[in-house]
């Protein structure tokens, strides 16, 4: 604990650095996966290829990817941008199948009814399909959030600062409190971001959990009694 108190500034700074690495990667992987998932949903023949290719990304060893990326991007080995790109690729691998499933989860009748109402193809995507895919997308996003925050620590091995630096530094200097702080801070950060996702989801998608928040009106009592469910 003494170590933590005397190094609060460092931990605070590393948390911010860690956020700066993982949040862009999380957002990018979501933004890139949604169109890929939609394609896989819309064009059945592409599904196997697209989803397998994206899942294969996860098979690339992380250290190898960190080393392989700089020559491709032309940025220095320690540039955080490389790490963000690597984390984005892993994020895509994790979420893209869920993104395809999310669009599959939209009921065909609802899609048909939107078409019959006179939604254009683009209007239907933004106004109907994407919001209705939201709950499943969110569940995928939560996995990405946790995995990205944890994976970002690996960057410390190649010298990109993050909460992982607390492990590497702690190991080298034999400070156990520093290692434990690194682990706990990473977990807490992941939980905090996850919680933020859930909260945002509830705000943006009030229909997916409406029943809990609403007291039944008097006029409902009869139908509730009649309904065994």
């Amino acid at each position: 604990m003494t170590w933590l108190w005397s190094n609060l500034d460092l931990v605070g700074e590393l948390i911010l650095v860690h956020l700066a690495l993982s949040v862009p990667a999380i957002i990018l992987s979501l933004v890139i996966s949604v169109p890929i998932g939609w394609l896989a949903h819309r064009y059945r023949w592409s599904r196997g290829v697209l989803l397998s290719l994206c899942a294969l990304l996860y098979a690339i060893p992380s250290l190898a990817l960190f080393v392989a990326l700089p020559p491709i991007t032309g940025l220095g080995l320690r540039s955080p941008v490389n790490l963000v790109i690597a984390l984005t690729l892993y994020g895509i691998a994790v979420i893209v199948r869920t993104a395809a499933d999310a669009f599959d989860s939209v009921q065909p009748e609802v899609r048909q009814s939107a078409t019959a109402m006179g939604y254009s193809a683009a209007g239907r995507f933004w106004g109907v399909e994407l919001p209705l895919a939201g709950p499943v997308l969110l569940s995928g996003l939560r996995v990405v959030v946790v995995s990205t925050v944890s994976l970002a620590t690996v960057g410390a091995v190649i010298g990109v600062q993050s909460l992982g630096s607390l492990f590497t530094d702690g190991f080298q200097r034999g400070i156990q409190a520093e290692i434990i702080t690194g682990i706990v801070a990473t977990i807490l950060l992941a939980l905090a971001l996850d919680w933020l996702c859930v909260l945002t989801g509830r705000m943006l998608m009030p229909w997916s959990s409406p029943r809990r928040s609403r007291r039944p009106a008097l006029s409902d009592v009869r139908s509730i009694e009649a309904d065994p469910a």
Binding site: V110, G118, M205, S219
Partner: protein
């Protein structure tokens, strides 16, 4: 007036859903397309708002071939009510009813004001306006579906088995409600069902379709019962059996009518 002229539809998998159909759907009346599944009735309905385009032939609304109309604009001018209501689960009741006016670019406030009036029209309490569809009963959802279909005051209302998924009591209630509404509004209603009783109750014109997308007979219910075009129609409407085969027996000086099961159905008025 809606006209089908030599309309056929063959789907990519080779099924012939509609075979060379000619039919006129009169304005301000209810026309019911009735047939078993696979008779092409829903396909026929969906050709009117171009959710399905015919392989050959023409569909005309007031003399204009719908193929010349832009599908999205066309659909926004025609009311559509479907089975299981087809409501958007992420929109409140009022937003669902106002869907098409908002798509057409009307101001939100105007669209909502009109949507509230429509809730009255279809017999729903305004307090339901802020609920989500999943918080309503099946019958209420179906009423919202009808309100949504009427939202832009369209001349044509397409109804695809709208009461198919509700229980018989609610269905009877909704059918009466539709008859009342149609009496007030006088839309050109095209209604699809597989229930011949529903067809006879609601239809001014009943179109009986058989497997393979052919029309067996298109006429008023009275005409169909009196002169079934062929054995298929007679069989389908049950003219020769069941409750439509009524017998008159004189009991104590009055002529009592019995149905096919031998139950007393009523007394003949003289």
């Amino acid at each position: 007036m809606i006209e089908f002229r030599g309309v056929s539809k063959r789907f990519p998998d080779g099924t012939l859903a509609v075979a060379d159909v000619d039919i006129v759907i009169p304005p301000r009346k209810t026309t019911v397309l009735v047939g078993s599944s696979g008779s092409g009735k829903t396909t026929l309905l969906r050709m009117i708002n171009r959710m399905v385009d015919p392989t050959s032939g023409h569909v005309l609304i007031d003399g204009t071939d719908v193929a010349t109309r832009e599908p999205v604009a066309l659909r926004r001018s025609i009311g559509y009510v479907m089975q299981n209501s087809g409501l958007l689960p992420h929109r409140t009741v009022i937003d669902n009813v106002a869907t098409v006016p908002l798509l057409r670019g009307e101001r939100r406030r105007d669209a909502h004001a009109r949507a509230l009036e429509l809730l009255d029209t279809v017999g729903l309490d305004r307090s339901l306006a802020d609920r989500y569809p999943s918080q309503l009963s099946g019958g209420q959802q179906q009423r919202v579906g009808v309100a949504r279909g009427l939202a832009v005051d369209p001349n044509i209302l397409l109804m695809d088995e709208p009461f198919g998924a509700v229980d018989p009591i609610v269905r009877a209630e909704l059918q009466q409600e539709l008859l009342r509404l149609q009496g007030e509004l006088g839309k050109t209603v095209v209604f699809v069902t597989h229930d011949i009783d529903e067809a006879f109750l609601l239809g001014d014109q009943v179109v009986i379709m058989r497997h393979g997308g052919k029309i067996s007979q298109a006429a008023s219910p009275t005409e169909i019962l009196a002169n079934p075009a062929d054995d298929f129609v007679a069989e389908f409407v049950g003219a020769d059996r069941g409750k439509r085969a009524l017998h008159v027996t004189e009991v104590g000086g009055r002529r009592v009518v019995f149905d096919g099961d031998g139950r007393a159905a009523g007394v003949l008025a003289s």
